[in-house]
């Protein structure tokens, strides 16, 4: 554990010396926040809370890109080789990536919530405990997903290709950018198989104080199980050397990490009432102008 903390502190220090970190972690989410509130939420305090949930999702999901790129960069530059000589295993190295990213995400999340409450007139604080829980599990889970991608790709080019594919799905099908409630029914059902959906919907419900305990528990469980599987897979597939290539079949391990969401998605599609709750909450928040677009089940 001490190795993990040592590495975590070092990584936090390194990140804060990188100006790009401040732009992508603080400035960009705030730009999105102000832009979205200006366009959609200036007449309704409810909407601000909903938009905050979406922006928090984007902030947390940023871990996916950041960690995969960083790990591949370290491997290609030969930095991991030097660490391999020290008495530390892959576990502490990966765990420190996840932990450091979490501590770096938290300030951005706090700033976004405070800005929404005091500058953008968000009506209430929402369910802060649920927000904290989902941000914590979401940050760790999406960091771990990023680490799997880094563990199975051989070059930066390959990493960015796979990242783009997965990220596009996360971004546009989860409710993080486009409200899930306005999708066609079949697309909403597909979205229930994505890890990003549990994060986005969970945070949007938490920030608008519409989340039930059951929903929070389901979202948290999905993210926690996804985190555990993703971490274990990335640890087993971890490579120190740029020359150690991964066979093509190993790339399918990325999909194995999404098995928990396959299970949750199947359950929600068959027996759950998640989609009804999503539509109901969206209308409650004030989606009247788009009510006609919300498909009936």
């Amino acid at each position: 554990m001490s190795h993990t903390w040592t590495l975590t502190k070092a990584r936090i220090r390194l990140a804060t010396r990188n100006r790009a970190f401040f732009f992508f972690s603080f400035m960009m989410p705030l730009i999105f926040l102000f832009g979205a509130v200006f366009m959609f939420g200036k007449d309704s305090g409810n909407w601000v809370g909903y938009i905050l949930g979406a922006v928090l999702t984007l902030t947390v999901m940023g871990s996916f890109w950041g960690l995969s790129v960083q790990l591949v960069t370290f491997r290609e530059q030969g930095i991991l080789r030097r660490f391999r000589l020290a008495p530390i295993g892959a576990g502490p190295l990966l765990a420190s990536s996840i932990l450091s990213n979490y501590f770096l995400v938290l300030p951005a999340v706090i700033v976004e919530i405070v800005v929404c409450r005091f500058a953008l007139h968000m009506q209430s604080w929402g369910n802060l405990w649920a927000v904290f829980l989902l941000v914590s599990l979401g940050s760790a889970a999406f960091s771990a997903f990023g680490l799997i991608v880094a563990s199975v790709t051989n070059t930066m080019q390959e990493t960015q290709m796979i990242n783009n594919l997965i990220w596009t799905g996360f971004l546009f099908l989860s409710g993080a950018t486009v409200p899930l409630a306005i999708f066609p029914s079949w697309l909403q059902r597909v979205a229930l198989f994505l890890p990003a959906t549990y994060l986005a919907v969970g945070l949007e419900n938490a920030t608008t104080n519409l989340a039930t305990m059951g929903e929070i528990a389901t979202d948290a469980a999905a993210l926690a199980i996804g985190l555990w599987m993703a971490f274990e897979i990335s640890r087993r597939l971890f490579r120190w050397e740029p020359e150690a290539k991964v066979p093509s079949r190993a790339k399918f391990w990325v999909l194995v990490a999404f098995v928990p969401f396959l299970v949750f998605g199947t359950w929600e599609n068959i027996a759950g009432n998640r989609l009804q709750q999503i539509r109901a909450n969206y209308l409650t928040v004030g989606g009247r102008m788009l009510r006609q677009a919300v498909p009936r089940r």
Partner: protein, 306 residues
């Protein structure tokens, strides 16, 4: 006799169709500075990386302090230190942070301020890694390799790419470690480095150890012959430099004739006479005392830098 601290027995390693190691064997007693000398691609780095636990041999055994580098895990890493052929660290890591970071990984470590002083990095303690010169980076790599006061130190081409002045600074550091009876395994393709630093040297070529001994023993094996390198205005028309008085060996390396002579003055006189007879001219002539380069040429027919 004490057990060798490093024991390598019949190592084989292939990279696809390339045979990197073809039966390498040697033993290093405690407190010795042992060199692996050979050209690029000889198998030196593969050997040392197997001993560091970074590569797995296809056949053969390697032991360091009685431990198998591949299987011993963290216990093994506690007792070794290593400088890789190229060390890379994050650009924004400060010098002092780098040493402290790696020191914290070990159960026991040397005082990091002492290390900064010893490797003349005190002035650079707060500098970022990206701001260091090549020599400073190599001194930092050495400091990090010694942070746990290892029983065995592996140095893979520690002065490659450094200018002569910096190289000598690194030699001074290694000589200080040698005086402290540190066991060191060093790989190099620099003759001067092997002759100056190593107690014993294994000459490696094409994955095999072709000679092993102290630098003095190896040079004596080439019978104390002086190397004479000659460049001529025109290639030899007829006549053969091998027949000159005292010459025991002649090789042509792209227009430079390398002669080994047991009687250098007589050889030079005979050479001048032959060139006069052929109306040829001497462009340059250099004489060298016997060195490990001569041993390598004698054994392989090639120069170390070919």
């Amino acid at each position: 006799m004490a057990e060798p601290i490093i024991l390598v027995d019949n190592l084989f390693k292939n990279y696809g169709a390339v045979e990197a190691l073809r039966g390498v064997s040697f033993a290093v007693p405690e407190g010795e500075v042992f060199g692996l000398l050979g050209p690029n691609g000889a198998g030196k780095t593969t050997t040392v990386e197997i001993l560091e636990g970074m590569r797995v041999p296809d056949r053969g055994t390697a032991r360091v302090c009685g431990l198998d580098p591949e299987k011993a895990g963290e216990q093994f890493k506690e007792i070794i230190g290593a400088v890789l052929q190229s060390t890379a660290l994050p650009d924004k890591l400060r010098v002092k942070e780098a040493i402290e970071l790696f020191a914290n990984f070990y159960r026991r470590h040397i005082n990091t301020d002492d290390l900064l002083r010893r490797f003349q990095l005190e002035d650079k303690r707060n500098a970022f890694y990206s701001q260091l010169s090549g020599g400073q980076k190599q001194r930092l790599a050495l400091a990090m390799a010694l942070v746990n006061d290892p029983q065995v130190l592996f140095l893979d081409e520690p002065t490659a790419g450094l200018d002569p002045q910096v190289r000598r600074e690194i030699y001074d550091i290694i000589e200080e470690l040698k005086r402290g009876k540190k066991t060191i395994l060093l790989t190099t393709h620099y003759i001067e480095e092997a002759e100056r630093l190593c107690d014993r040297v294994a000459i490696v070529d094409h994955g095999r150890v072709i000679a092993i001994g102290t630098p003095r023993e190896l040079k004596h094996a080439s019978a104390g012959k002086t190397r004479i390198e000659v460049k001529l205005a025109r290639p030899l028309a007829n006549g053969n430099l091998a027949n000159l008085d005292g010459v025991v060996d002649v090789r042509d390396f792209e227009g430079t004739y390398v002669l080994h002579s047991a009687r250098p003055p007589q050889t030079i006189v005979a050479l001048v006479k032959q060139l006069e007879a052929e109306h040829n001219e001497l462009q340059s002539l250099e004489m060298f005392s016997p060195s490990l380069e001569d041993v390598f040429i004698e054994l392989t027919g090639r120069r170390l830098r070919d």
